[in-house]
Amino acid sequence: MPKFTLNGREVEFKQGETILQVAWREGVRIPVFCYHPHLPVFAGCRMCLVEVELRGRKGLLPSCATQVSEGMVVNTETEEVRKARRDQIEFLLLNHPLECPVCDAGGECDLQNLTFIYGPSESRYQFEKTEKEMVFAHPYLQLYPNRCILCNRCVSFYQEISANDDWGLFGRGHDMRVGPYRDKILESEFSGNMIEVCPLGAITGRDYRFKSRPWEHRVINSISPHDSIGVNVKVYARIGGKYSRGAVVSGGTRTDNHEILRVNMRPNYDVNDPWIDDRTRFIHSFVNSTDRITQPLVKKEGEFKESDWEEVYDTVVDKLKKIKDTYGADAVAALAGGRGSNESAYLFSKFVKEIVGSRNIDIRPPREDFTLGDPVFDVLDGSFSTATLRDLADAKNIVVFGTEIKETHPVVGLKLVSARKRGARIHYFGKWAGKAERRWATRIYIYNIYGEEEAALAILKHASETHGVPIPGLENLSLQDLLEKSGLSGIEEAISENTVFVFDDNLPYLVQKALARASVILNGKFLLLRNAPNGQGFIDMGVSPVIGKGGMREAVPGKSTYEIFEAAKKGEIKALLIYNVDPLTEFPARDEILDGVKNIDFIVVLDSFWNEITGYADVVIPLALHYEEEGSYTNTEGRVQWADRVIQPYGMSKEAWRVFSDLIERCTGEKAYKSVVEVTEEIVKNIEPYRGIKVPPGESFEEPYPDEIPSLKNIKVVYRYPLARYIASPKEVTFEYSSMEKREGRYVLVQSHHLYKTVYTLRSESAAPLIPYRVVEMHPDALKSEGLKDGDSAVLIGPRNQEYEVVVRSNGSIPENVIRVFAPYLDYGLNSLLDFKGFGRASVAQTVRR
């Protein structure tokens, strides 16, 4: 290995390394402002100057941008270097206001720390500091251009990593500043990362404004509850407990510690690098929502009575026993929302499947096609993704099918951006494509609103033709026909050997199955994006009518969600357990579900929030929320991650695993689990893919970044979590194709997702400016023909003359005959217009009236 001299020592280096990297690795401190290990090198702050001597010439060079070469002599601590640093800091402070006491970054500011260590004690500058106006570019971000030292980190992140272009550097010299180009909310869903990237307090988050200081924080490692990527986060809460700062006042403990101050990233190179999406970062006030259920409730004579845990357990166990004895176990059904830890899911499935003995358990939305089974399970004999998020970055050819990545799984978008930067070809197939998709897609294919299945089958057909693998059931269809029906042309480019498919589990059964099969034929991989935050974990734990614990096929399949409600309408379901899901507002076909719900004798709702279904419940059990319980979570690629508890459960609520464990204890007399780790150990013992995983899972290693720079200290400790080991055994599957039923009408209602419209965001008061509350989107031309303007309120009229008040927004990227609505439907009951057959997306005639 080549060598060079660093501070009089012979040091080895790898070709292409910079002086800074080698020096940090060797424990030599070099201060930086603009350098960030995950961003392109800018070399603008001149803080990392070192003295370099090569071939007789000597001078100061920026170490972050200078590659080491053989025989170089580098000195980092000469008088000249020290003077350069001191003067550089004095220079940076010329226009930097010394308002550390009011600045939010005080205590975790690079400039503060480095001034303390390297800076001069006095300034020679005697003139007025420049004044620049404050910028509000995002409801959650605030930019103070006065404090900015123009290190370009935020711009690098925004333009290179997030691949948006509405934030940049402007002006020259004295007037130079960073900021948004336009007077609009920032486009990127990752803008919050600029807060953490910023070495000082120029960009601060409004959710955390002025609340507290870093030394008051308790930092807990957790996992994002918002999507199934399982973004790693650090959650900051105030130090609580009996003997700690701020918590102790005479006469007792403070009660206002049930608060999450902020959520920051936690680096994990497998999942999220050091970036997280804005939803994860800013949406956390739902833990203190006024909608929280605080007490167990039992309905007596049509009214909820406050109750205690004993009574609730007794009621549930007695009633379920009675129903099981009179009608059989098949009269009991259970639904889950996929929000909750693996431990909760394991005990939930154990309680329903083993103790009650019912197989009617599901986490998917009620859709007729899901009664056919689990699509991926039918292809692979296991329900999991074969690709990991890392595979996306390495893939040469990626097909993203039908998923609004920005709205549901934003972090996947970052991976796709970096894949495109590395030269991958990314093909996006969708009903429409917006600016978010154009950031990473190399080619966009738009299929008809009713042509989704044909488009997927065309991909499969093309794959089977090129590879000579026959597909039973598709012999009669020609590729030309399928393409015509789907409205696509020229998909040949998209399909090649080793393609990685990305699709989500809310797509029609046939689509998921076709894409999974196509990836098998092409020797490729696929990434199945679960829509439920812990969907993969719930499936692994056996919360599925067709899949048992650990991915075994159930001998007698149970009823899917659709079948449960159909059976309930007929009166076959007598008891329903609903765990963390509201079928009336989260699923389509509200009226049909309501018919079923009204027919059920005994409904137990386990949830953290009041919602519509709680009104029909007989027993309401308050559950702790994500940040209030600890446990393992499996992300969509099968990575088993661990989240610690941040705050205590709200009111009388309990963790879900504890509730199920108590119920199991009451039914069987087995001893209840003492801690969540006991359950995890049982999971690791009993669930095949999880076997051998350390409890609790996860390990960390350190990068050699200096401690004295807070923005780098945050990304110093990197976490790693193990993957569950799934075994795929692909087999030949038959396809049954019948074209999708078209709905007549002026407009087609299409179910869609919005980043800021989820069960959690709707409960966060602070998210209010971002939530599309009662919003539907329409094409501008359609708006014009209706005589409406962007932002007008309007009335949608359903086929049975139901009226829905909505706010219309214009969106140029959707087709003209489409009304885009956002699930969940807590704010408008628009899901009563969608029906079971519509794949949650196409529906009946609409007229819009002002």
Binding site: E99, P120, S123, R209, F210, S212, G246, V248, G251
Partner: protein, 185 residues
Amino acid sequence: MIGPLIKGLTITFKYIFKKKFTVQYPEERRELPPRAKWLHILQRHEDGKERCVACMLCASACPTEAIYIVGEENDLENPISHGERYAKVWDLDLGRCMFCGYCVEACPEEALAMTDEYELAVPTRKDLVLHKEDLLVEPGTPPVKTWLGFYRKEPIGAMPVTRPMEVHVEYEEYLKRRGPREAHE
């Protein structure tokens, strides 16, 4: 035998005619030294705005963790303090406080000061926690001179928001006495 008796009584009589030694406490209060460190006060600017900007330096300097602060953003129309933030909650737990004065030293805004108010007895433990309302002075109260000028090396003049009053005069005098100094020695 009589000798020592007389000797002893001489001292007694000597003291009888001396001025009384006892402080008649409730009626007469001993004047405390100017830097006496007793009950804290939160000061105000001349315009009646609060000085405290909830920087939480006092809370972090406090060795006994007696101070608890929650900051909040000022209403721009009707600000409570100068600057962007103010203390929504400023609690002092007398049950922990040991009147060391580190908080006053830490305060960059000269918002905190200590008075010679030592009569602090309360009947319940709840009353030991003093809130912002209790500690804030009335608008228009003349500022209490803190002892900061003695310790602080750097001028507070760099602070953008506030400019403490008399201490600076004192400091400038000190600078004059000290004479000019090189920026970097």
